[in-house]
């Protein structure tokens, strides 16, 4: 089965082609069925591959599809790599992907671009699989760019709305900035090692110059910053909520944004070798985690809250990567994929019921009407908040424990960020599902539970969020951390934990206590005191206002980047029109005028031409013989 790994990306590609070419001709249900089945088939193949790999002796397989580039020193085969890391990501992508496809058949049912939506979704899954499966950085880059493209297409899916289009462009441009860094990193790898295939580069990586490795690691991380929405390139992700909600769930929570994590885990050798780079990753990660969590505190758009939560959780994952806890980060990617997809899909269900309303101030008391959505969302909220026993608890705790070992300061900041996470997630839950309904009468009348095609994925994801923790049970409990062992072969520089067990118990205790305390605070504020965020335009306290406006980061970028660019382009426009155009037009005018003069010679009279010719001959003879 491993040799047939090409089937995994092939199914979504076929789905993409069918829906792309014939989407308008076939019925909606057929288009949805094809797309969903394509991804589900990939999932089945991925499962088979995964289990085969589990029992295989050799853990890393390279499957050559064809020879891609073959010139002098540049030989790039189109190869897929099947190892514990890529097979695990395959499962996440195709598994969550098929659930979200199923969900979309219900969610997008009334949309006129139904087939187009599934075309993009399938294409996205294809590129994401390419990104994960490629055995060299170039294939990863192709996938990397491909998911960026699909992200653009899907964010701007409702392209008739200018604001959505702008959000799509923003996502694309922000990603491009990161992509440049990634590309430079790839080029530097090629220059340094003469190859970009993983199985050729990594074994010789330890022999490379330290500075070069740091440069490579930092350049790759710039790429990860863009794709995984880290400071300072994170601003596209909250805006990306313009896309349909399943897109937010699939791309901006579960899969695409984890591409940066995947890439760094894949290149872990560079980060293990470079102290500076990994330190940088950790610091950026923890700052992002805190920063986004703070912004998330006062957002009123249900999807914006989740978006900032995603940024914050990604920050935590990068913190884990920075401190060398690669398997913990992958573990958190997994659990986060479960509960964040669930949260987004639940939010989608809420929005669906509310008839497109996304403002939490207009919701409330929905638990009565949306029972399944409520139950599953509650599980997801508990999981992301780190409630003991749920998936998020284990993964977050593992990252924070590793961080503590590395640096207590980073641990503290990370812990604060995760407390804030618990707070705003429960704020979201209380505002949405508890209290009394605050929307219009018409909306209240319209409230309904979503169709089963939408609730089934919710239930599946809820179960996964509940039990996902078993993938990485803490070792100091005397359990086997399966995830840790699974990825062991890939982590080339290992730093086994030497922390005493009582410290780990203490950290876990602190995490649990702080989570519970924060949940209680949120309960008091939003449940007992029934505080509802102020409507738009009312005066807020200064700090709250700053946070509500996302620290004015967009405005700062506007002032720092866009305004100077505008001014510069205005200046260049002036130079262009007044000087360069003048020169260019001048040349044209001169030629035109000159030709007007010369043209008079072209009388069309043969006699005149003969005269000219004879005079020419005379001159030639004259000059030749004198």
């Amino acid at each position: 089965m491993i040799q047939l790994v090409a089937l995994v990306p092939l199914f979504p590609l076929i789905g993409f082609l069918i829906n792309g070419f014939f989407g308008k001709k076939i019925s909606k249900s057929l288009a949805g069925l094809i797309a969903t089945l394509a991804v589900a088939a990939s999932f089945v193949v991925s499962l088979l591959i995964f289990f085969e790999l589990e029992h295989a002796e050799v853990k890393s397989h390279v499957v050559t599809i064809f020879s891609w580039f073959n010139s002098d020193t540049l030989k790039i085969p189109f190869e897929f790599v099947v190892d514990p890391l890529s097979s695990w990501f395959l499962l996440i992508i195709t598994g969550i992907g098929s659930l979200i496809h199923l969900y979309s058949t219900g969610y997008m049912h009334d949309d006129e671009g139904f087939a187009r939506f599934f075309t993009y979704l399938n294409l996205f899954v294809f590129f994401m699989l390419l990104l994960v499966l490629g055995n060299n950085y170039l294939i990863m880059f192709v996938g990397w760019e491909g998911v960026g493209l699909c992200s653009y297409l899907l964010i701007g899916f409702w392209f008739k709305n200018t604001e959505y289009n702008n959000a799509a462009k923003k996502a694309f441009i922000m990603n491009r900035i990161g992509d440049l860094g990634f590309l430079l990193g790839i080029i530097l790898i090629f220059i340094t090692f003469g190859s970009i295939s993983y199985n050729q580069v990594f074994p010789i990586a330890s022999g490379a110059n330290g500075t070069t490795v740091t440069a490579i690691a930092l350049l790759l991380f710039i790429g990860a910053m863009g794709k995984s929405a880290q400071l300072p390139l994170y601003t596209w992700l909250p805006d990306a909520m313009a896309g349909p909600t399943p897109v937010s769930a699939l791309i901006h929570a579960a899969t695409m944004v984890t591409a940066g994590i995947y890439m760094i885990v894949r290149s872990n050798i560079f980060y293990s070798m470079s102290e500076i780079a990994s330190e940088f990753v950790a610091v950026i990660g923890v700052i992002t985690a805190l920063f986004a969590a703070v912004i998330g505190l006062f957002q009123n758009d249900i999807k914006k809250v989740l978006a900032y939560s995603t940024v914050s959780q990604l920050g935590l994952m990068f913190l884990g990567l920075g401190v060398g806890a690669y398997s913990s980060s992958v573990f958190h990617v997994t659990t986060h994929a479960f509960f964040k997809a669930l949260l987004f899909l639940g939010a989608g269900s809420v929005i669906h019921a509310m008839g497109g309303e996304q403002d939490m101030r207009k919701m409330g008391g929905l638990s009565k009407h949306l029972k399944i959505t409520y139950a599953t969302m509650a599980i997801a909220t508990l999981a992301i908040s780190g409630f003991p026993g749920l998936s998020g608890f284990f993964s977050k705790d593992e990252i924070l424990a590793h961080t503590y070992e590395h640096s207590p300061v980073l641990w503290f900041v990370g812990q604060v960020a995760s407390m804030l996470t618990a707070f705003y997630m429960f704020r979201l839950l209380f505002l949405t599902f508890f209290g009394s309904f605050r929307g219009t009468h018409e909306q209240e009348h319209h409230l309904h539970e979503s169709p089963s095609s939408m609730t089934i994925p919710l239930i599946v994801l809820a179960v996964l969020s509940l039990v996902g923790g078993v993938l990485g049970l803490p070792e100091f409990w005397g359990m086997t951390n399966w995830m840790h062992h699974h990825l062991d072969v890939l982590i080339l520089h290992k730093n086994p934990s030497t922390m005493p067990h009582d410290t780990e118990w203490m950290l876990m205790g602190i995490a649990v206590a702080s989570a519970l305390a924060t949940i209680y605070v949120a309960y008091v504020i939003y449940r007992q005191k029934h505080i509802v965020p102020l409507p738009e335009g009312e005066k807020m306290p200064t700090l709250q206002r700053i946070i509500y406006h996302k620290f004015y980061v967009d405005e700062i970028y506007d002032a720092l980047v866009r305004k100077p660019l505008d001014a510069m382009s205005a200046a260049f426009k002036f130079i262009d029109t007044k000087f360069i155009d003048a020169v260019v037009n001048g040349v044209g005018d001169a030629v035109n005028g000159g030709s007007g003069l010369v043209r008079k010679l072209q009388t069309g009279h043969i006699g005149f031409y003969i005269f000219a010719m004879v005079i020419g001959i005379i001159s030639i003879l004259f000059f030749v013989f004198n």
Binding site: Q602, T603, G604, H605, I606, G607, Y609, I610, F611, V614
Partner: protein, 103 residues
Amino acid sequence: MLNGIPINYYIMLSAILFIIGVVGVMARRNAIIIFMCIELMLNAVNLLLVSFSTLHNDASGQVFVFFIMAVAAAEVAVGLAILSMVYRHLKTVDIDLLNRLKN
């Protein structure tokens, strides 16, 4: 048959005939006369070729004249056909009126 004439005389004769042809081409408007002047120029060159052939005692020059005659015959045939065609359409062979080259 001793020929005691310096080669320069032949060259001068050819040059004069050639120049008469050139002047004819420039001074006349009738396309047929111009054509004839061109023939005259060709013959001037032929004469030069033959005299040099005799000077160097080499048959190549005369062979060349032979070829030039063949080419001239072909040229005259095609050229006169064209001229007769022009005349048929425009009722004139006046080159000053044939100024369609301008546009």
